[in-house]
């Protein structure tokens, strides 16, 4: 890859992040209103007490002064304090990141089965397998996550009692080591399966169409002419070439991993980024929202950058142009 290609992509990503910082700040302040007044309505506080709260949360002064203070904080790696919990935004986010990565990461791995199914279906286009797999994928892809979640919760957790109704661990449990891990897996099984089912269709459909495109290529005819068996042609010649769209889908999805699965996290009370976003919106907790949006945007931007660079590596024509 040429250095110019890499540097160009890097600069693009950095300037997008800078734009996001500015945009997020003003986005949440487009609507007028003083959150301190509404949060402490009916709390019997004096005007002096309210003023002190405004100073604490960087809500005093003009919007421009607040913005300068915000950027200065940000450059020091400080995201400010959550209006709701008075805890540092960075701490809250760093606690919520791991449950989300675990849940969405597991679901994404499960969804990789969709790639295998998609390749097979695309290779034998029109077969019974293809028809079955495609309609299944369409079905799961079109079902809203929260709906699958509610049904799964009602049947397997509340109804049959096979799984806990939500959470990351059994609360108040003193278990450690392996039995704690087992407990965590027990809690994660249902939300991860729900998300996995929701993701699987998307991967299957993309993999299938990539395979169909590839299967028309001349070099596959050549491979067959060489006398290779059908499975060999698929594995060694078709699949690697059908990989590109799947790589970009995975990279972009990975960016969205951090935004969590708001619906699924909410149904299963999963303590991740999605749940924090939901809490913050109902505030509105400006500092939390800014921190979360910055993180989510940065994750998408970085994932896209990674996809661009990976693309350049996998397909040298892209980087050379």
């Amino acid at each position: 890859m040429r250095p110019r290609f890499v540097i160009g992509k890097l600069l693009g990503a950095l300037s997008t992040i800078a734009f996001v910082v500015v945009f997020d700040f003003f986005l949440f302040r487009v609507v007028n209103g003083d959150p301190i007044n509404s949060m402490f309505r009916g709390r019997n506080l004096t005007p002096a007490q309210l003023d002190r709260l405004r100073v604490k949360f960087n809500l005093d002064g003009s919007k421009w002064e607040q913005f300068v203070a915000y950027v200065r904080q940000l450059l020091h790696g400080d995201l400010g304090y959550s209006l709701k919990s008075s805890r540092p935004v960075a701490t809250v986010i760093s606690e919520a990141i791991w449950p989300t990565l675990l849940l969405v990461g597991t679901a994404t791995l499960l969804a990789m089965i969709g790639i295998m199914i998609g390749y097979r279906a695309g290779w034998r286009r029109g077969s019974k397998f293809d028809a079955g797999a495609t309609s299944m994928s369409m079905l799961t892809y079109s079902m809203p996550e929260f709906w699958i979640g509610m049904v799964a919760l009602g049947v397997f957790a509340a109804g049959l009692g096979w799984f806990p109704v939500g959470g990351l661990n059994k609360p108040g449990s003193t278990e450690t080591g392996f039995s704690r891990l087992l407990d965590q897996l027990h809690h994660m099984a249902l939300p991860a399966l729900v998300l996995g089912v929701a993701y699987i269709g998307e991967y299957m459909i993309v993999a299938r169409s990539a395979m169909i495109d590839t299967s028309r290529e001349d070099y596959l005819q050549l491979a067959r002419a060489k006398g290779l068996r059908d499975a060999e042609v698929r594995k060694r010649h078709a699949q690697p070439n059908a990989l590109l769209p799947v790589v970009s889908l995975s990279a972009i999805n990975f960016g969205f991993v951090l935004s969590g699965a708001i619906a699924v996290e909410s149904i299963f009370s999963w303590p991740g980024i999605g749940q924090q976003t939901q809490f913050a919106i109902s505030g509105p907790d400006f500092p939390m929202l800014q921190g979360l949006f910055l993180l989510i945007s940065a994750a998408v931007i970085v994932a896209n950058l990674a996809a661009d660079l990976l693309y350049g590596y996998l397909d040298p024509r892209v980087a050379g142009r």
Binding site: D34, S38, V92, E95, L153, P171, H186
Partner: protein
């Protein structure tokens, strides 16, 4: 071949470990502590009494921090807390509290008069958000280790009640005034029945029984608070026995829970209410409709609204049908409005009032105009976007107003926006609500002339822009009246005056909907008696009396260990199968090459 053996080995090892873990799990359940689990839809905001403000935080503080005087479960009367007895000075300004013998913090340090004096004086000097309203005029002096003298600079009818959380000086005194509000307060040192053991943000927090509690160690070992983000999931957890108590039952689930075996659903009122407020334009900012400054129009509006119907159709009867201002969680402060002053639903009488006052529909569009024929009675009606009840209330009220010839233009705002709109006075009516404390003073103070917003940079609580000299005079009197019966009478006069002025049409008193399992724990105490909630009350007395029912088991151990083992084993087998399949296909390929 090597690879296949490796994956088989892994599968066998995993299966073995899973089976072992199952055994360990079952063994552990026998020695598990008695755990009472509460489900709620809110995470705690802060354990720090100088920072938190949500209901969940107050519940944790009620458990962890005892107060000098406690409140009786039945009627909120002042009963001994950390102080066993107290004496009053002849002028009524000074109280001397005598502490219980041998008080200790949960960490074993002695709890003395010094802790109490430090908390009261520091909270006054630093204006702590949850203490200052009570301590602002007080000075506390530790006379000796078990005697503390508290003097108020003004007559204070709240005394001898001293319901501020006393914090351990030995933990808190090192915090500087500037950053005391950012302290996470996870130390778990307190003097109440339970103290904080651990917290998982966004998930749960656990309070354990305080062995040094002066009321005797509680009979429940730990109380776990579990945060849910979905109301129906929380109800499902109660039904399946994962939790023992639900706070904030979604209204659609409330009636079905009533029919569940071993579950009791209660709706507990604490004085909180919802109201239709009208912009009185008395001293404040803005451009409220001139018709609403006429008490006749306000009376007509009150009589056009069918409150009993709202109560049934909007909150399904889960509250209290009461249309007076709720000033306290204690019903003793709420007067009976004399029959001749009641503004009951009577649309015909409302029309007649408006007709007689000259508000007639002169242009035949169904909306009345001002007596001089200029401005139509079209009111800006604001509501909250995050209120579940707002749409139903709006449909009913705007329909009833239309029926008497009053038009509305509806706008929806979030809480921050609506606060801003109200402060600027640019509204005619809005629907919102309040929740009072136990002492009526704060709620009453919100409608004094001082609290009318005259500068948007300093917003007052008087959101109806309403001001009355008579009300203010009564407010000052009740604020200094040390005879409780006389004070009750003054407060009744104020609430009646506020009712007849109709700047607020109180729609109903809402309730906390709660539900609990009856097969595991007993000793529930509703505060106040019979009508209040069982938990999340003003002083949360239930935790001191809650005890397990023999053979009832505790929540959370319903997880089906055998099934987990089976499921995980199935998962491992599938993975092993995939591994074997992959190895085989690789082997085939290798063979061909």
């Amino acid at each position: 071949m090597k690879r296949r053996r490796w994956s088989m080995g892994l599968a066998v090892a995993a299966l073995g470990a899973v089976a072992m873990a199952g055994v360990v799990n079952t063994a552990e359940a026998d020695t598990a502590p008695v755990t009472f689990t509460v489900g709620l839809l809110q995470d705690i905001d802060s354990f720090n009494v100088t920072a938190g403000y949500l209901v969940a935080s107050f519940e944790a503080w009620n458990m962890q921090y005892a107060t000098l005087t406690d409140k009786a479960a039945d009627d909120f009367s002042t009963i001994p807390g950390l102080a066993a007895t107290w004496d009053k000075s002849p002028d009524g300004l000074t109280y001397t509290y005598h502490l219980r013998k041998d008080l200790k913090w949960s960490d074993g340090e002695p709890l003395t008069a010094d802790d109490i004096a430090w908390t009261i004086n520091t909270s006054r000097d630093q204006e702590w958000i949850n203490h200052y309203a009570t301590t602002q005029n007080l000075t506390a002096t530790a006379i000796d280790a078990s005697t503390v003298e508290i003097t108020s600079s003004v007559p204070d009818p709240k005394l001898p009640t001293m319901d501020v959380y006393i914090v351990p000086k030995h933990i808190w005194e090192s915090k500087a005034a500037d950053d005391i509000t950012t302290y996470d307060a996870l130390d778990g040192v307190g003097s109440g029945p339970f103290t904080l053991k651990s917290r998982n943000a966004g998930q749960d927090w656990t309070m354990v029984a305080n062995p040094n509690y002066w009321g005797g160690k509680p009979q429940v070992d730990q109380v776990v608070f579990r945060v849910f983000t979905e109301g129906s999931a929380m109800v499902a957890a109660l039904k399946s026995g994962e939790i023992d108590f639900v706070h904030d039952v979604p209204s659609e689930a409330f009636d079905t829970l009533k029919n569940e075996p071993n579950i009791v659903a209660i709706s507990g009122a604490q004085g909180g209410f919802s109201e239709l407020a009208m912009n009185g334009m008395q001293g404040g900012l803005g451009d409220g409709h001139p018709a609403l400054q006429d008490i006749t129009v306000r009376h007509a509006i009150a009589m056009a609204i069918d409150r009993p119907a709202l109560f049934d159709r909007v909150i399904h009867g889960q509250g209290v049908m009461n249309d007076t201002l709720g000033v306290s969680a204690d019903p003793v402060w709420t007067p009976e409005i004399p029959a001749d002053q009641q503004l009951n639903y009577d649309p015909e009488a409302a029309k007649k009032l408006l007709d007689e006052a000259g508000y007639k529909d002169t242009d035949g569009d169904g909306i009345r105009e001002m007596p001089d024929g200029t401005k139509p009675l079209n009111f800006r009606y604001a509501e909250l976007s995050d209120s579940d009840n707002a749409p139903a209330i709006r449909e009913l009220i705007t329909g009833w107003l239309k029926a008497v010839g009053i038009g509305t233009e509806v706008s929806t705002y979030d809480q921050t926006q609506l606060t801003d709109v109200i402060a600027s006075g640019e509204y005619d009516m809005f629907v919102w609500g309040w929740t009072p404390y136990v002492d009526p003073d704060p709620m009453l103070s919100y409608f004094t002339c001082d609290q009318v917003t005259t500068d948007v940079a300093s917003v007052g609580y008087n959101d109806a822009n309403w001001c009355s000299d008579e009300y203010d005079k009564l407010y000052t009197q009740q604020n200094q009246e040390l005879d409780v019966n006389k004070r009750i009478d003054l407060v009744h006069q104020m609430v009646t005056l506020f009712y007849t002025e109709s700047t607020y049409v109180v729609l109903y008193h809402d309730a906390d909907t709660q539900a609990y399992r009856t097969d595991r724990f007993e000793g529930w105490q509703r505060q106040p008696k019979d009508t209040g909630p069982a938990l999340f009350t003003n002083s949360s007395p239930t935790y001191q009396t809650l005890k397990p029912i023999a053979g009832g088991g505790s929540s959370g151990d319903s997880s089906n260990t055998g099934l987990v083992v089976a499921l995980v084993a199935a998962g491992v087998l599938v993975l092993a199968g995939v591994g074997v399949f992959l190895t085989r296909s690789r082997k085939q390929r290798d063979d061909r090459e």
